[in-house]
Structure formats: structure tokens, C-alpha cells
């Protein structure tokens, strides 16, 4: 278990400590500021549960892709000890470093009763264990476990917390049975058994990315999520009567993590690219264009739908979107080039690194500036032009 813990959190367990301190800080700040929201327990269970499920799945998948399992499998181990240790370490990592923060936010604003907290905790454990199962390369859909999670969701919608508790316990037991039947060798990636053949002779950045996304479909899932958010956000701003702040939605849509960690997620590619000549034309400009289009589409959808929902639309807003997308794209490239995230243990750390909020944070400040002083759009425009200049003179 120590080995798995170190693989996920490093020798010092620093991510665990940081997460604990941050969660405690958030909890104390929100609890003492008397912010209280009436959140249906269903949303609490669904958000924390689904979040945990996907993080657990992503964590194990990135370990498999990193071929770390192959080296571990060389060690002498007892089958059930191996799986038990893996499950426990994943709980500790996912729950301790990721879900804890979300749990702290919900429990501080909701002030939930003990039965809701216990049910929520069991659902999180259940989702974590099922997330690991779903990361197996050769998987058959564990129908029973999926059903148990759906039943939990249904019961929590009708606020039957006692039954939620029972079903989530059953779900954990079911997962335990599945684990007993599993073998550590099930974690070996299936691609080792066959060789991928491809017949494109021309190698360029887009070919590479296309292939990369085929093997990392979760990168695309995140972008689909951003598109869905672009459709839902205008409606949410109207519903919450916060329409006058709708431009802030553009800042939220700029948090497209996977597109902004392309170099960091493949540690040796950046070194290789830096050693090759003419990478501005071969890589930087195509990456900029891709980011521009990728970020522009959800922003445009958001702007059009916002107008449909009765938000004021002026040509300045369209210009603002273009400037923000340019700034975001250039900012992401510069961050990736000069400050790549190298010290991650599992890929999941990369997805939740605070660096991903740098550009959205800057954009939010600029949007607020424009909202307060409309003429600040000129400043944003000048910044966008300057960033294009940086890309042009980039060496």
C-alpha cells in the first residue's frame, strides 16, 4: 500500500496535507460567514459521487497508460493484498486530495444532517470503487454495480436517506465481490497484445493530436462538457436573475483543462520540441489556431444563446469574445512552454493543478473591468494585439 500511496501522492504525502488544509480553510470561512444554501441532498450525492467516480477512473487509467502497473506486477504479491492495497490507496488519494474539497464546500453551505453525511460518504466510497472497476482495460459492464448506483440516485431524489444508506452499502459489498474475482493482471493495457498500424505518411501537429485524442478520449469528453455548459449557462444566468453578470460566463467557459495541458501531460514531448528548429510554424501556430477555434466555438454559442434569452447584445461583446479567446490561447501556450507542470504523480494531479485557473482568473478580471468601465474593452483589445505580437516574434 505504501508503494501505491507514494506513486499517487509522492514520498511526503504533500498533496494530502495541502488538500486537508485547503478544505479546512474553506469549511471554516464558509461556515463562519453564515452562507447557507438550500441544496437538495440529491445534488450533493450526485456531484460528489460522480466527481469521485470519474477521478478514480482517471487516476487508474493514467497509471495504466503510464505502464506503472507493469513494473509493479514484477514484484512478488498476493492477489487480494494487491487489489485491496490498490483500492485503499486510490480511496486515500481521490477522497483525500480531490473529493474532500468538494465535500467541505457542500457540507459548509448545506449544513447537512448526520444521516446525509454518512450516506454521502458511503456513496463516495461506492463511486470510487466502481470508478476503479471502470478503468479496467478489458471490462464488462458491471450491470449490478451500475444499477445500484442508479437506484441510489433515484432514492436520493425522493430523499429516502435510510434506503440510500442500505443500497450504497450493498453496492460496496457487490464491488467487493467483483474485486475478489478480479486479477491484478486485468490492469495490463490491452494495446500490449496488438500493434497499432497507421498509414498516414505525413506527420504534422494535427495528425498527432488526432491520434492522441483517439487514445485519450477523456480529453474530448471535457470539451463536450464545456459545450453543454455553453448551452446551459445562459439559461442559468436568467433563472438565477443574474443576467447582468452574464459576461462572466465567458470566463467560466475558458476553463478547458485538457487543451491547456497538452505538453505537461507528455513530459518528453516538450523537450523534444524545444530541441527541434522551426517549431513556431510546425507547432506553436497550429496549437494557437486549434486553441482559438476550440475556445471560440463555446463562447460564440454562449453569446448567441444569451441574446436568445434576452441579454443585451452589442458588437462590442463579440469583439470582447475574440479578444478574450486570443488572450486565453496565447496565455495557455506561453504557460505550457515556459512553465509546464512536471512534478505530477498521476495524470489526475495535472487536471486539477491550480495553474489551470491562471488564465480564466485573468480573463475574469478583464471581463469585470469591461463590465464596470465599458471603455476598458480598448485595453483588452490592445492586450490581445500584443499577445498576437508575442506569437509572431516567438522563437
Amino acid at each position: 500500500m505504501k508503494l501505491f500511496n507514494r506513486m499517487m501522492m509522492g514520498r511526503t504525502y504533500l498533496p494530502l496535507m495541502i488538500s486537508f488544509v485547503v478544505s479546512l480553510f474553506i469549511y471554516v470561512v464558509i461556515a463562519t460567514s453564515n452562507v447557507h444554501l438550500n441544496v437538495k441532498p440529491f445534488f450533493f450525492y450526485a456531484s460528489t459521487g460522480l466527481f469521485t467516480f470519474f477521478i478514480a477512473r482517471q487516476t487508474i487509467q493514467s497509471m495504466i497508460k503510464d505502464r506503472k502497473f507493469n513494473s509493479i506486477l514484477q514484484l512478488p504479491f498476493i492477489k487480494n493484498h494487491f487489489l485491496f492495497s490498490l483500492a485503499c490507496s486510490t480511496y486515500l488519494y481521490v477522497l483525500g486530495t480531490k473529493t474532500l474539497v468538494l465535500f467541505a464546500i457542500f457540507s459548509s453551505v448545506m449544513n447537512p444532517k448526520l444521516d446525509i453525511i454518512i450516506s454521502g460518504f458511503l456513496i463516495i466510497i461506492s463511486c470510487c470503487i466502481h470508478g476503479i472497476l471502470f478503468a479496467l482495460p478489458k471490462k464488462r459492464l458491471p450491470i449490478l454495480s451500475v444499477s445500484s448506483l442508479i437506484i441510489c440516485g433515484g432514492l436520493s431524489w425522493f430523499e429516502r436517506h435510510d434506503l440510500v444508506l442500505v443500497i450504497s452499502l450493498i453496492s460496496i459489498l457487490l464491488a467487493g465481490v467483483i474485486y475478489i474475482k478480479k486479477d491484478p493482471y486485468d490492469f495490463i493495457q490491452s494495446t500490449f497484445s496488438y500493434k497499432q498500424k497507421a498509414h498516414i505518411a505525413r506527420g504534422n501537429f494535427y495528425t498527432y493530436l488526432y491520434r492522441y485524442f483517439i487514445f485519450h478520449k477523456n480529453y474530448l469528453t471535457n470539451s463536450v462538457f464545456i459545450l453543454v455548459l455553453a448551452i446551459l449557462l445562459p439559461f442559468m444566468f436568467v433563472e438565477t436573475k443574474m443576467g447582468s453578470f452574464y459576461l462572466l460566463g465567458l470566463g467560466i467557459l475558458s476553463i478547458n483543462t485538457p487543451m491547456s495541458i497538452l505538453f505537461s501531460s507528455n513530459r518528453s514531448i516538450l523537450e523534444k520540441v524545444k530541441s527541434l528548429p522551426n517549431q513556431k510554424a510546425k507547432l506553436i501556430l497550429p496549437y494557437f489556431l486549434l486553441l482559438f477555434i476550440w475556445n471560440f466555438i463555446p463562447s460564440l454559442i454562449y453569446l448567441v444563446l444569451s441574446k436568445f434569452f434576452g441579454q443585451p447584445y452589442e458588437i462590442e461583446h463579440f469583439l470582447l469574445v475574440i479578444c478574450l479567446v486570443i488572450l486565453n490561447s496565447v496565455g495557455v501556450i506561453l504557460l505550457e512552454w515556459y512553465f509546464p507542470i512536471k512534478n505530477w504523480h498521476v495524470e489526475s494531479d495535472l487536471w486539477h493543478h491550480p495553474r489551470k485557473y491562471v488564465m480564466p482568473g485573468i480573463l475574469m478580471i478583464l471581463i469585470m473591468m469591461v463590465m464596470i468601465i465599458p471603455s476598458a474593452l480598448m485595453v483588452v483589445g490592445v492586450l490581445a494585439l500584443m499577445s498576437i505580437g508575442i506569437i509572431i516574434i516567438f522563437k
Partner: protein, 235 residues
């Protein structure tokens, strides 16, 4: 000297302040010269190569001359004239060999030449359309070596090129290194004495981040080099 290709004076490289990996190193590579670099693990060979690959920022040099002209290691001129193959390279794993080759040649603004002799020599015929990530360590190494040799740039840098290669390919590699004089110079590191003595015009021993011994001409022989390594070990 008139035929000097690269001259580096007083080079220091560090990852942490006050702990230089390379200290006050002088290196001079002549045109069409093969230089073998020997050193124990951790001596700084790969760090030196990383600096020459323009991927390090923490270094200082008093003089960096390329063909007699002062240059920066990050300059386009230098990058266009040298290629590097690292011992462990997991970059562009989702390219096939052909795609990788095309990407690299495009980067150097060169046309891909006829690679049949290189591909045949390294027994790489079957793997040209396989993704690099699916290749074995040795075959991945071959993909990078074939690309680097095919570029025929004035300076070729190889970090432990023998590692992972099969017997036939190792012999072929020695032949390629020896024949590279025709196109340019080679700086390579190795832990296999045979690879050095069979190919190099000059041998440098790197110890504690500096060149401790240098051999050339008739002095490039196993006994003398081993003696020098033993001496430096005792120090």
C-alpha cells in the same frame, strides 16, 4: 583552429543553485570528427547533451562558438545544424515512424532522402507504420537513430546509442558512426568500450562535471582508457 565546428569554454550547468553538474568544462569539436564521451553514471553526460539540445536554462558559458561565430545554444542556426538522439525518448509516441520522420524533416526544412540502406541496416522494414508507443525499446531507438543519421547535419549527438540495440544493429551503428565523417561530426556517449575504440577519433572522460582525460590518435585504445578510468576512480 580553422576547422573547428563547436567550441565551448567554461561551461557550467546546474539544476540547483550552488550544485553544478557540469563545472568549467571546455569542449572543442572539429569538423568531421568523431568524439566518444565516457563517464560514470551521474557524471553529467546527459546533462551536457540536454544543454546542447537547448532544453536547459540553468547554464553559463564564457564562449559558445559555432564555426567560429558566437551563437546562442537556442539560436535557429545552431538548432538547424545539429540533431540529438537521447537514450530514453518517449516523445511523439502517437506518430508512426514515417510520420515522425516527415515531422522532423519538415522542421529542418529538408526533404526525406532514400532511407532504404538505413532501414535495411537496422532491420526496421516491418515497423515503419507502427506507432512509436507500440515499438520495443530497441526499435524505438532505431527509429530515432535512422532519422538522425538521415538528416546528415554537421553535428550529430548520440546519448548512449548502443543501449537496447540487437547485435546486428550495433555493428551497423558502429559502421554508420565511422562513416558519418563524410557528412559531419559525431559526439556520442557510451558505456561500451568497444563502441568507443572502434569508432572515435578522440575520447573524453567526463568526471565530476569536467573533462579529466582526453585521448586521440593512437592513444585511443582500451588499455590506456581503462587505466585512466581506474585512476580517476581512485581519486
Amino acid at each position: 583552429m580553422k576547422n573547428e565546428l563547436l567550441t565551448i569554454k567554461n561551461l557550467s550547468i546546474w539544476y540547483e543553485a550552488n550544485h553544478p553538474i557540469i563545472r568549467n568544462l571546455d569542449l572543442s569539436i572539429n569538423q568531421n570528427q568523431i568524439i566518444g564521451l565516457i563517464g560514470r553514471n551521474g557524471a553529467g553526460k546527459t546533462t551536457l547533451f540536454k544543454m546542447l539540445a537547448s532544453t536547459l536554462r540553468n547554464f553559463h558559458t564564457e564562449q559558445f562558438l559555432w564555426m567560429g561565430k558566437e551563437l546562442s545554444v537556442q539560436s535557429k542556426t545552431f538548432k538547424l545544424n545539429r540533431s540529438i538522439v537521447f537514450d530514453e525518448d518517449h516523445s511523439f509516441e502517437y506518430f508512426t515512424f514515417r510520420e515522425y520522420l516527415s515531422y522532423v524533416f519538415d522542421s529542418y526544412r529538408k526533404r526525406v532522402p532514400d532511407l532504404t540502406p538505413l532501414i535495411h541496416g537496422f532491420h526496421f522494414e516491418k515497423y515503419q507504420d507502427t506507432l512509436l508507443k507500440d515499438l520495443s525499446t530497441g526499435n524505438r531507438k532505431k527509429a530515432f537513430l535512422i532519422t538522425a543519421f538521415a538528416l546528415r547535419l554537421p553535428l550529430l549527438i548520440l546519448d548512449e546509442p548502443v543501449n537496447g540495440l540487437d547485435f546486428d544493429s550495433t555493428e551497423f551503428l558502429y559502421e554508420q558512426i565511422k562513416n558519418y565523417r563524410e557528412y559531419g561530426s559525431v559526439l556520442f556517449s557510451s558505456h561500451v568500450m568497444e563502441s568507443i575504440t572502434m569508432t572515435a577519433d578522440q575520447v573524453l572522460i567526463l568526471q565530476n562535471g569536467a573533462i579529466s582525460h582526453s585521448f586521440d590518435g593512437n592513444h585511443v585504445n582500451r588499455e590506456l582508457i581503462r587505466k585512466a578510468i581506474d585512476q580517476s576512480r581512485r581519486r
